[in-house]
């Protein structure tokens, strides 16, 4: 038999991208808080929002329509364009 096999995978090559530069200070920055819409995620994010505000950051809140599906592209774009950094909350 042939010793050649056909690749069953997507044959994708993973793109290696540099990380975005880390922000060095919260002062005057806009931080997005993304709730994935699981129960009690807001409890955690409310606390995070308070702590960030104390340190001089502006906070914008976002939520996925449902935790079971990836965030819609429009939501990802909005966060990327309006925020300097984002914190995503899992929950339960």
């Amino acid at each position: 038999m042939s010793r050649i096999l056909l690749d069953p995978t997507s044959e994708r090559r993973l793109a290696i991208r540099p990380r975005a530069a880390r922000i060095d200070s919260l002062e005057g920055r806009t931080i997005g808080l993304l709730d994935i819409s699981k129960p009690r995620g807001s409890v955690f994010l409310d606390r995070v929002e308070a702590r960030l505000s104390e340190r001089g950051a502006a906070v914008l809140r976002f939520a996925k329509p449902t935790f079971t599906k990836p965030a819609p592209v429009d939501l990802r774009h909005e966060i990327a364009t309006r925020c300097d950094a984002v914190i995503e909350a899992l929950a339960d």
Binding site: I4, L5, L6, D7, P8, R12, T68, P70
Partner: protein, 473 residues
Amino acid sequence: MKLVAFVKRDCPTCVLVVPALAQLAKAAEFVVYTQDDPSFPAGLEPRDDSALEHSWRAKIEAVPTLLRVEGGQETGRVFGWHRGEWEALSGVSGLAPGLPAERPGCGSLSVDPDRELELRVRFEGELLRARRVELADAEDEHEAIFARGWSDGLPVVPPTEARVLAMLDGTKRAPDEIVATVPPDLVPCSVEKVAINAVMAGCKPEYLPVVLAAVEAVCNDTFNIHGVLATTMGVGPIVVVNGPLRRALGMNSGINALGQGNRANSTIGRALQLVVRNVGGGRPGEVDRATYGNPGKLGLAFAEDEEHSPWAPLATDFGVARGRNAVTVFAGEGPRTVVDQLSREPESLARSLAAGLRAVHHPKLMLAFDAMLVIGPEHARVFREAGWTKPQLVARLIELSSAPGGEVTRGAGGIAEGLPLPPAAKDAPIPKFRTGALHVVHAGGGAGLFSVIIGGWVRGAEGSQIVCREITA
């Protein structure tokens, strides 16, 4: 007009017809391809086709074969020796009067069973676009596949070019046609990639249309295979097959229908999961975050027993006409049995089934999940004899599996888990299932007063919805 002949010296009839070939060569534009001896037939300037490429591409099955070609297109062919047919095809009369009127030919070397697979790979291999992975001589092919991460944990059939070409015979769809965009990596997946994974799963070519339909059925926002993978819950895609194809493929809807031992059942579901794994990149520990999973995630497909069912097939609940072939995919956990060996009245049996259904995921978690109820033949008989329709049974099960708010609220029964209900809701009936959340299928062995419940996952547009697709090609 041009005449093209295919011959081999090893065929006595080919040797016999050389005088007729010589007449044709004088009367018309003429080419003869020879499959074995390049010098045969002498004097007719034979073209060497010992590589069998021309024979393969012309789909020659027997020698001698005579083709008539006009304007570059074949307009007729005869095989073996038959004077009348040769004269009619060529328009040349008085062919080889010394020969008998007819004589059968021999098999073409291009369809020799010992060579056919090799020839197919050589001449049709360009149809396949997938990357070729060459194994080293010392490499064990099974170990090589495990090492590359292509397996679900069990050995697979190595996807050679010959096997994948044979698999593609199972569909009329072109190998490069895109079937679906497969989550989680959102990769466009061709018919060929599905075929490769179907080979690995152990499918026969005739199963491929079912696998293709199942891939289409899970890769969309409605079924949401991304979420089904990513959830910590132990669900996977369960494939139910309806229509005459079930029987044609020999699928099992009877004894051990949800278990092992039937090739079509076992490999169709597995092929779907291999596509999700290999093409979509959905692997346990990566995007697949299941806390436990379940053995059905290797692949779970079964057929409905339509012949003995009191009700219309599952696919008809989704608008597919009875008698059409369809797959229905449901995001489900492992099957569990409901035993009731005493109920002979439909109301009593419905109460048993409802009690089992109430326990899906947790008896106090209501309105959150779908379930599939696989009614066994002996239970179905009770409903048939009482004249219960499927909608009637489903409606009654929804009523019977509901509970007063006070029973399912958080803390009730000394159990913290439950619904966050206000005290005022303590007497309000809370259904376990929403309308449309219970899916009834008829399958299982003929002996056993049992049915099976398959719990679902987060229901509705927020989670996964059952999807039915007709199987086309």
